[in-house]
Amino acid sequence: MPTQLVSDASPDTFPDNPVGRVIATEYGPSDKVFRGVITGGAMMSLVILALIAGFLLFRGLEIFRDFGFGFITSVRWDAGDGIDKATASFGIGAMLVGSVVTAVIALLIATPFAMGTALFLEFYCPSWLRIFLTSVLDLVAAIPSVIYGVWGYAIFMQYGTSWGRAINEHLGWFPLFHVPSPNFGRSPFIAGMVLALMIVPITTSVARAVYSQAPRDQIDAVYALGGSRWSGIRHIVLPFGRSGLIGGAMLGLGRALGETVAVYLVLNLVFRINFQILASVGGNVASLIANRFGEAGEYELKALMAAGLVLFLVTLLVNFAATAIVGRTRGTES
């Protein structure tokens, strides 16, 4: 014991006030600067998000004041003569409904496929193939939306149109599949299919990341009890990865809600609330902005900013929820 040593030694071998080693729990001045700078830089994402919301609100405030809640619910989008504000009327009701309709179609189609793909990659394919396919998945996640749009417009449209016609022929009695006129091109159904293709990679990669953390010993226990591969997946992996799949699907939903160019190219933009998914009538807030931006006057531009703010808040909300849900499974890891 140190105290014992001190008391035993003769007084003159030690100075009266021995200076012990300083244990640096305090950061030095250079580290304080370093930590300050890094912390400041890290707040950038918060600053950017706040600035986006702030500026769009600032620009769109006049619209919210003029139209109030009607901006969300009204379906009329009319720039008037562009000079007199009284002739203009802006509402994004139809576009909001259109966004939700296309995104939900995309989600319903994409999620089962994403789940199947994730399970295939994680449990069925040989490991040499898995490494390759994972890179392919990352690559297709980086295919730009404009290429999906061009492909959807030039290649997929004919298939989508004929599928729409076939569904309408056989299931036309169902209100969703009813159409007012036999025109099946550029419908929310086709846009939803293209969006589904775009969100499959992100949902798959989130689901796969969660599935790969499923407790291996429990899966082995299932095998040891005579279960098949599917029993292991059904009873261990899927319950374990449920929130990961939901979160991944919601991340995909967020992306589908905010997609611009692909939807712009394959969807017929009409200002009407439409739930007949096979009809050539639809819309999407993001593609509304891209569509009207070029020829918008000052007042309409403000309306577009307001629409952008609404879109921003909706997608942010979906993403917050998705991140929180995914984080719940990941929480075990970090």
Binding site: Y27, S30, D31, F34, R35, V37, I38, T39, G41, A42, M43, M44, S45, L46, I48, L49, I52, F55, L56, P112, F113, G116, F120, L121, C125, S135, A142, I143, P144, S145, V146, I147, W151, Y153, I155, Y159, L197, S228, R229, W230, S231, R234, L251, G258, T260, V261, L265, A286, I289, A290, L304, M305, G308, L311, F312, T315, L316, N319, F320, G327
Partner: protein, 352 residues
């Protein structure tokens, strides 16, 4: 004398689930029967073409899988059925992507001629014959904007990652959460934001820098996220050794941690670039589209590959649509190059 028993050969324990010739034959037979029946379905019903055949194939696989269950145990039958579903889900997902790559190459190829990559569209309208004009302006514009976006975004992304991993500050969780949420910001909203700030207030016109800023916003989450993953791989004893030698945290971070993952950080940056290289919507609102080769990023519209595709497709004639496919081909090639570059750089470090 003691004798030890030496077996002639080591007997491996039997694995009942191992692949035998018989099980592989049975599987191939199963697939062949489904294929044959699908050919029958195509001949009889309204389904047509390769896609129709594929639908029939999946359908027959499912039906035969179900029929097979009568001869088997329930667990095995359900397992077979699930295997069929999962594998076909994967194959079905592959079809459109193969179609995208195939059609981009096939339809884009006619747009290429000797000068396609080296001329701009200043004197050529997009409806003119395909041996005139090109997309040099778009390539240069895209590369310039990507470079500026990288300059803005990469330091910020790495700083955020350092904050989360090295400093582990009070807001580390919040920063990570916000970054993740930011990845969902619709690209057009980023464009609107830059338009309402930089374009209206600062530049008073479309500009390459504004476009690059919009791209930087969209890139930040990818870079931060990937850099964070990379920094987490640095073993703690490296940091401990550095501290033990009396280094400060700043020195440890800049001299020990960051150099040890340099290639990983480059991968993170390049992946971020690949992710935003094809963003169209924000560029329509911030950098516009210009048909002349220009390197002026500070003032006036500038060409870029995505907007080139978008505008030539919009022109609607057969030549211009071919040009759009050609642009898509170049864009996809650019992303592929970035991607493979990122992979090969990242792979070098992973050996560990």
């Amino acid at each position: 004398m003691t004798t030890t028993f030496v077996p002639d050969k080591l007997v491996k324990p039997a694995r009942p689930w191992r692949r035998t010739h018989r099980s592989i034959l049975a599987m191939l037979g199963f697939i062949a029967i489904a294929g044959l029946s699908s050919t029958g379905i195509v001949a009889v019903t309204g389904l047509a073409g390769p896609l129709g055949w594929y639908v029939g194939f999946v359908f027959s696989l499912a039906v035969f899988g179900f029929l097979g269950s009568f001869f088997r145990d329930r667990v095995v039958a359900v397992d077979l059925f699930a295997t069929v579903l999962i594998c076909t889900a994967f194959m079905t997902v592959l079809i459109p992507w193969v179609s995208i790559f195939y059609s981009v190459i096939k339809r884009g190829a006619p747009a290429f001629y000797k000068g396609y990559l080296t001329t701009d569209m200043l004197v050529t309208s997009s409806g003119e014959a395909l041996n005139l004009g090109g997309l040099s302006h778009a390539i240069v514009g895209t590369l310039l904007m990507l470079a500026i976006a990288a300059l803005i975004c990469i330091p910020l992304g790495i700083i955020a990652a350092i904050y989360i991993v090295e400093i582990k500050g009070r807001f580390a969780g919040a920063v990570r959460f916000l970054t993740q949420a930011m990845s969902g910001v619709p690209s057009i909203v980023a464009g609107l934001f830059i338009y309402s700030t930089l374009v209206i207030l600062v530049f008073h016109s479309f500009s390459g820098i504004a476009g690059a800023c919009a791209l930087a916003i969209l890139m930040l989450p990818t870079v931060t996220r990937t850099a964070e993953e990379v920094l987490k791989l640095v073993p703690d004893h490296l940091r401990a050794a550095s501290y033990a030698l009396g280094a400060s945290q700043a020195q440890t971070t800049f001299r020990v941690v960051l150099p040890s993952v340099r290639s990983g950080l480059i991968t993170a940056s390049v992946l971020g670039l690949a992710r935003v290289a094809g963003e169209t919507a924000p560029l329509l609102l911030t950098s516009g589209y210009f048909i002349k080769l220009t390197t002026n990023v500070g003032n006036g519209a500038i060409g870029s590959l995505p907007t080139y595709i978008f505008s030539t497709l919009g022109a609607g004639t057969q030549e211009s649509v071919t040009r759009a496919w050609g642009g898509a081909c170049v864009l996809l090639a650019l992303i592929l190059i970035l991607f493979i570059g990122a992979r090969s750089l990242g792979g070098r470090n992973k050996g560990r």
